[in-house]
Point group: C2
């Protein structure tokens, strides 16, 4: 990151996880699948990516964890905290700003070579 530059797509996993949790609690394995499914497999984050993100988010207080047994399977359900909601808003804004800025370059013809 840096005060100057908004760490590009770094944080995309974080953004996706937070956004998914906004619709209700989910557990890790489910999140992994949801990301794969909802993006039409364009984005396919492995468990090795998602779990550490979840742990970091929990540690930072953005989400809360609650172990629960369902169908004889132990799952850890995560829920968005108020702090997490703020963080989500923040990241969503950043995402919009950055993609918008890049898009502007992609579309624009501002620059014209005068050699």
């Amino acid at each position: 990151m840096a005060a100057t530059n908004p760490s590009f797509m770094n944080g995309v996993p974080e953004l996706l996880v937070l956004r998914l949790l906004r619709n209700g609690e989910m557990y890790g394995y489910q999140i992994v699948q949801a990301i794969r499914d909802e993006t039409g497999e364009v984005v396919n984050l492995g468990e090795g990516v998602v779990y550490p993100v979840l742990h970091a988010l929990e540690k930072s207080g953005a989400i809360t964890a609650q172990r629960r047994a369902v169908n004889g399977r132990s799952r850890i359900y995560y829920a968005l905290s108020p702090a997490g909601a703020s963080r989500l808003t923040e990241l969503t804004d950043l995402w919009a700003r950055v993609t918008g800025a890049v898009q502007q370059v992609l579309v624009g013809d501002a620059h014209v070579s005068l050699v």
Copy 2:
């Protein structure tokens, strides 16, 4: 990267540089400023980022370099090669796919928690 996952925003600097050069040749310092200006300072890539990208692109044959003196200043002008144009198309597509996929998650309400 990986066969499975399209290295997120990694490559944004590369994408921006290639796109700028599509409008005509430019030199490094100019590119740094163009990125800053055209993105309204949202994206501000330092010279330490841009120059290495230029060198890598030249090495891979995506752009060609030509040293020229202008106003007593030595500049290295870069121009897009056909290979670079292909690469640009490729990256632009990837960019659209990834941002589209993320957007889909950001907007969608597909997931509903049934607990």
